[in-house]
Homo-oligomer: 291 residues x 6
C-alpha cells in the first residue's frame, strides 16, 4: 500500500505540468542513440503516447542515423561528405528516402501503435508539408562560387495543414525530414532544422532536440541548465559553443525568434528523457528561453 | 536523477489506465471522513483535477455529513430519525439545502478551482437535473399504512443535459443531492442513490462510492476485492452483508443493471483513494462487476 | 372574441421590441421587495421565462436581503455595519454564502423551473466566474489607514465562460454575488456591482436594476425617465442624487462606459416590472443612456 | 400604467403557448380574402413575423385568387373550368406562374420584409421542392377515359431540403404552389394540397388553412370547434361536410395520417386569425385532431 | 478508342482551370440572345451545372429582354424611354416583376434543374438581398432639376446572406434584378449593375457579362482581348468605347475596384460561351484586369 | 474557335458522369505497367487529380512490382516463391517495406503533388489502418500441415479512420499494402486484396483494378465488357477464367458482396485508363456488377 501511495504522490507531482501544457504542441526531434538503442526507443515511444493521452500534442521529427550508411555500403555506394553534409546524388537520395521513410519512420510508427498510440508517418513531401530548394555551399576559396552537393535542400516553406488535420483527430504525426522541390524532386533536409521550422509553423510551446550529449556546456565543461537566446548566441560568437552543437543552438534560437516559447537540448541517452524534461522542475539538459 | 527516473517509471505505469479510461465518465460519491478531514479533501480535489486533465470525465455527487446536524443544533432544531432517515419538515429541508448547496458544495468547488480545476456546483434542482417525489416508508406494524417523513424524496427521473453541457466544455460538475418536486418543492435525496442513478443516466464507466470502511467484508471479516453482482446480492440475502453496507451494495448493483460498467466501494480515509483505485492493478476496496 | 382580438393586438405591440432585442443579453439585478414578496417574485420568474422564449438572453444576479439578517439573528450572531457594509468575519461569510447560494438562489431557480424555464444557479465561485480580492475602506480620520471589514470583496476579473456555456444551451444563469479569492476563500460582493461588471463582460444590451423606488428623482422629486451618463454624474456631484441611489447610478454609469448599451433603474414593486420596462415605449423608472 | 399592466398580463397569457410550440414548424396556407384585403394581409404578415421571433417556424404556402383571372381577362384569354379545376394550356400556365410567383408571392415577401421579417419566396420548382405529374380527371360518363385539363398537376414527391436550408438560417419560406415535371415543365398545384404535403414532409406540428368561412359546420350549421379525424371523415361520408369544404378536410386528414400533429381550418377574414388560433385556449375555427 | 482518348485529353486540358478556380465564386450576368435562343440557353444551363459540379460557385443574375415589352404590348401599355431607361409607373413595375420573377427567372431555374442542377430563384427582394432607392435622372437643360422616371432604382446596399446560405448548401442562386425600397416597394434595377455589385459583395473571382457582341473593340474595330482597368477607362474618355458598351465597361471597372479579381465581357451568342471563357487559355471576348 | 467548341462539348459529355459520381469513393489499385512506364504513371496522376477536383473521392492502393526484385538482387538476396507468393524472411520484409513505402509510394505522392493534387502517403501500419496476421499456405501433399512463408499476411481488419480523416480535408490517400501484426511486426499484403477490403470498409462506389491485360476474356478470347458476380464465379468454376485472373476476379466478387457497387478490371497500359472507364458510356475493360 505504501508503494501505491508513493505512486499516487508521483502522479500528483506531474499535475502542475499537465495543467500547464494542456493542449500545447511539442515538436520533438528524435535521433541519435535514442533511435538506435531498442530500450531507449521503446521508452521514447511510451513518452510520446503518454503526452498524447494527457492532452499534450506531440509532433515527432526523426533523423537518419547509421542505417543510411549501412544500406549505402551494402549497395556498394561510397559516402562522401563536404562540410559534414552528405553529397547526395540521385541514387543516394533514393537510398536516403527509402531508409528514412520506409524503415526508420515505420519503426517509430510501429513502436507507438503497438503500445496503444495512434501514430501516422509522414514525409515532408506528403500533403505539401515541406517545400524545399537546393542548398548550395559557399566555396571557402572563392566567394563567387557555390558548391553543388546534390539533393540536399533548405526549407522554403512549411504548410502545416496535414499535421493539423491529423492532430485534430488525435493522430500523432511522425515526420521524415524530406522536402519536395518545385518539380516534385526529393530533397534531404537536416532534421534539427526541419523540427525547428515545423515548431515555428505550429506555434509550438516547446522544441525539444534529443542529442547524444548532456546539453550545452560552457567553457569549464559545466552543463548550462538555462540560457537566454542572446546568451546562447554570444557563446557561439565567443567560441564557447562549438562544433556540432552550433547548428543545434542556432536552430533553437531561430525557433524562439519565430514564436516557439522554449527550446530544449536534452540527453536522449537517458530513458524517458522527454518525460523527465517535461515533468520535473529542474528538467534535464539545457533550456534556451526568451530573454 | 535516479529519483526522477523512478518518477518517470511511475507515470509509465499509469499509462495503460489512462489509455483505457480515456473519455470515460466516472461518477464519484464523495462523503464521510474524506469530506471532513481537510487533508483528505485536499487530496480528493487533486485526484479529481488529475482525472479531468488526463481525459477522464469526473462527475462528483457529495453527501451531507455532520454539518447539517451542527446547524440544526445551533438553530435549536431537534433531529429525529425513522429507519435511519431524517424526518424532514420544511424548516429542516431549508437547513439541509443551505448546508448542502451553500456550504459543502461550495467548499468542494473552491478546493478544486483554487488548485487549477474548473468545477461548477449544481443542485439536483438546477436545469431540471433531478426530478423527485415524496418517499413514504412502509409501516412495519400495518402494511396498509405509509409513514410520511416529510421532504425526503426518491428519484423519478434524471435529466443529464446540464451535466453534459458543462462536461462538453470541460467543467467538472459537483452535485448536491437534492431534487425538485412537481411544484418546485425541494426533496432531500440519498447521495449514494443519486450518484448511482446519475451514473446510470450518463452510461458511466465507473461508479465509485467513498466510504469510511475498507470495503465489503465477508463473514470472516476478510475484504472482498471483487464481487460479481449476483454474489453481492446473495451476500445480502444470507446476511453476510448487513447494516449500512446494504444500501451501498444495492445502489452499486442497480447501477450495474442500468448500464454502468463497474462499481467500487472504497476507503475514503486513505489519501488519494480515487487515484489508487483507478491507477493500480489491484485497486483498493471492493469492486462489484457484471457476472 | 373582442377580448381575443385585443390580446392579439397587445402581442403585436410587443413585436418591435422582440425584434430589436432578439439575441441580446439583458443582465438583471433582482433584489429588494421583488425578492421577498411572493407575488412579485412569481411575476419576475414569468418575465424571465418569457424573455428567454422570445429570444432574449436573461442573466440574473440576485442580492441578499433580510434572510441573511434573520439567520444571523437566529444563530445569535450580531450584525455590524461600517459605511453601510456588513463587517464580515469568517462565520458571517459562511452564513452569507449559505443563505445566498443555498436558499435565495435556489428559490429563484425553483420558481423559474417550476414554471417551465430552464434555470441553473451559479455562485461567482463556480467555473472561476468572479475573481475577487479584499476590499479595504478608507479611514476618514487617517488617510494613511485602511479599515479591514473582513470578507467583503471587490471584483478583480470576470470570466464569463460558464455563463456563455449555459447560455448557448438555453439555460438561464442565476448568479449569487460571491467571488473567489486567490486561495479559494469566499468574498461577499455587492450585487449591483456584480451585475454591472457581468453586464460589461457579456457586452450586454441592457443592465436592469430592480429597486424599491420609482427610479431616479430630481431635486423637485420628479422622476427622471431618461438621463444621459454625464447628466447622471453631474446630479451626483451636485447632490441631487444622494444616499443609496449614488452607488446604483455609479454602477450604471460604469457599465455604460464598459460597453453596455443602456442601464435602467426600475421599480421592482410593480408586477412584471421587467416586461413593462422592455415592452412599452415609455418604459418605467429611469434609463441612463450614452450621451 | 394600468394599461401597461394589462399588456404585461396579456403577454403572460401567451407564454404557455410560446413554450409549447418552441422550435415547432407550422405550415400555413394563406389564401382567400386574407390575401386580397390589405388590412388582413398586413395583420397576417405581422403574425408570421411574431411567430418567427418567438421561436416558432412558420412556412407559408399561398394560393392564387382573383389576380390570375384578372390578368387572363386583360390578355383576352378565356377561363374554362372542369370540375372546378381551371383548364390550363401552356399560355394559361405561363400566366398562372407569372401571377403566383411574380406578383402574389412577391407581395407577401415584401410585406413581411418591410415589417422586419426575413422572408424568401420560393416556387415549388426551386431546389426541386415539388415534383409533380399531370393530373387526369375521371370522365364520369366513361370510366375508361381520362380527361386531360392541361398543366394541372398532382404532387409526386416533396424534397424539403431548400426549406430546411432557409429555415435553419431563420429565413421564412413563402411558397407558390407550382411543381416541376420530369422535363422541367410547370404544373399548377392546389395550394391546400401543397400545404398539406409540405406539412407532412416537414413533420409539422400544425397545418393551418386560412379560409373565408368560420370553420367546419355540422348539419345544424353549428361550428365544430374540434373534430377527430375519423369523425371528420364520417361527416364527409354522410354528406354533412360538402362542397368546397370536402377537399380542405380531406387535406387535413391526410396530413394527420402523415405525421402532422394537428390541422386547423380557420377564418382568415378575422384580423390576426393565426395568432388567435395559436395563442388562445379556445382557438378559432375548427381543429382536426388524431383520435 | 481514339475518340475516347481525345476526350480524356480534353478533360485533362481543363484540369488547370478547375484547380485554379476551385471554391471561387463567379457572378454571371445572363442576358441578350443567350436568354432568348433556346439552344443557347440550354448550353448556358449546362455550363452553369458543370461549374457547380467541378467546385466553382456560380451566381447568376439575369436581365429582362423582349418578354417585358411583349407583355406590355399585349396589355395595351405603351413603353416610354428616357435616356434608354424605361419610364416605370406602378403598373409597369408590376409587369416587369411578373415577367422577370415569374417567367424568365423560372425558365432558367427549370432549365438547370431539369438537367440535374439545383437552382433556386431569388428576387433582389428576397431575404433583403437588394435594398434600393429611386434613381433620378439629371435634366440636361436645367441642372437644378431631376427627372422622375418612376420605379427605376439604384442599389443602396447588398445583403448577401441569403446567397451565402444557399451557396453553402450547394444550391445555385438565380437572381432577378429587383430591389426593395424602404417601405417594401419594388424597384427595377439594371441587371449589369446588380451583377457587378453582387460580385463585389461576394468578393467574387470573376464577373462575367454575356452580351450580344464579341467584346470590347478599339477604334480600328479590333477586339481587345485584355484591357487594364485604367486603359478601359481611358478608352471611354477618348470615346473609343461608346454607346451601350460604356455602362458595361464602367460596371466591370467598378467591380474590380471593389474586390473582384477579373471582369469579362463575352459573346453570349456562342454556344458554351462561359465554358470557353473559363476553360481555354485565350478565353473569349474581353477581359478587364487590375493594372 | 471550332476546336474550343469541340472542347466544350467534350466537357459537356462528362457532366452526367460527374453528377452521378459526385461525393462517391473510388478505390483504385494502381500497379503493373502503369506504375513503371513514366508516361502512364503521369497520366494516372492527372486522372486522380481530376477526379478529386470534380468531387469524386479517389483512394489509391499501389502494388510493388519489379523494384523490389531489383533491390533484392542488388543486395545479393535471392528471391524465392511458393505458389506465386514471395517467401518473406525478416530481411526481405525490410526490403519490401523500404521499396513500397520509401520509394514507390513516395513517387506516386510526388507525381500527384507536383501536378497540383494533395496526396498523402500511408502504409497500412499508419493509424492502425490494416491489422494483419500471418498467412499459412496449405501443403498440397499433407493436409494436416501448413507452410510458413514468413511475413506474408492476410487482413484481419481495416480501420478506415485515418483515410476518412484525410479524405474529409480533401487529401488523397495513397496506400502501401502493408499491415501491422499484433506486436507491431510488418506483414506484406497482396495489393488487390488490400484494395478490395479497403473499398468494402469505405462502402466505395467503385473498385478499379489496373492490370496489364484488356480485361476478363471468355473461352473464345473475347473481352467480356460486363459480367454479373455469379457469372464471374461460374467462369472460374468452369475454368474459363484461369491463372492470375482468378484472384483478381475473386477480389472483385468479394468486394461486391461486402457493399461495393461495381468492380472494374481495366487495362492500365492505356493512357488515362481511369478517366476512360469513368467518363465514357462503354467504359473499358470488364465491369463486374451485382446480379
Amino acid at each position: 500500500m505504501q508503494k501505491a501511495i508513493t505512486k499516487a504522490n508521483t502522479l500528483m507531482e506531474a499535475l502542475p505540468y499537465i495543467r500547464t501544457f494542456h493542449n500545447k504542441t511539442f515538436v520533438i526531434k528524435f535521433g541519435g542513440n535514442a533511435m538506435i538503442d531498442s530500450s531507449l526507443s521503446h521508452s521514447f515511444a511510451l513518452d510520446v503516447i503518454l503526452l498524447s493521452y494527457v492532452g499534450i500534442r506531440p509532433v515527432i521529427v526523426h533523423g537518419g542515423g547509421p542505417q543510411i550508411g549501412e544500406l549505402m555500403e551494402r549497395l556498394g555506394k561510397e559516402s562522401e561528405f563536404i562540410n559534414g553534409l552528405r553529397v547526395t546524388d540521385q541514387e543516394t537520395i533514393d537510398i536516403v528516402e527509402m531508409v528514412l521513410v520506409g524503415k526508420i519512420n515505420k519503426e517509430i510508427v510501429s513502436h507507438i501503435n503497438a503500445n496503444g498510440g495512434k501514430a501516422v508517418g509522414l514525409s515532408g513531401k506528403d500533403g505539401g508539408l515541406i517545400t524545399a530548394e537546393k542548398l548550395y555551399l559557399n566555396d571557402k576559396n572563392d566567394a563567387s562560387k557555390k558548391i553543388d552537393i546534390g539533393m540536399v535542400g533548405e526549407i522554403r516553406s512549411i504548410n502545416p495543414r496535414v499535421i493539423n488535420t491529423l492532430d485534430t483527430h488525435q493522430f500523432i504525426p511522425i515526420i521524415a525530414p524530406l522536402g519536395a522541390g518545385e518539380d516534385g524532386e526529393t530533397f534531404n533536409i537536416n532534421a534539427d532544422t526541419a523540427a525547428g521550422e515545423i515548431a515555428a509553423a505550429l506555434n509550438a510551446e516547446k522544441l525539444i532536440l534529443l542529442t547524444d550529449v548532456e546539453g550545452v556546456k560552457n567553457s569549464r565543461d559545466k552543463l548550462c541548465s538555462t540560457l537566454t537566446e542572446p546568451a546562447a548566441e554570444q557563446m557561439i560568437d565567443t567560441g564557447e559553443i562549438s562544433g556540432g552543437m552550433i547548428p543545434k543552438v542556432n536552430c533553437c534560437c531561430k525557433a524562439l525568434q519565430n514564436g516557439v516559447s522554449k527550446a530544449h537540448i536534452i540527453d536522449g541517452r537517458i530513458e524517458h528523457a522527454v518525460l523527465l524534461e517535461i515533468f520535473t522542475d529542474g528538467g534535464i539538459g539545457t533550456q534556451i528561453v526568451h530573454e
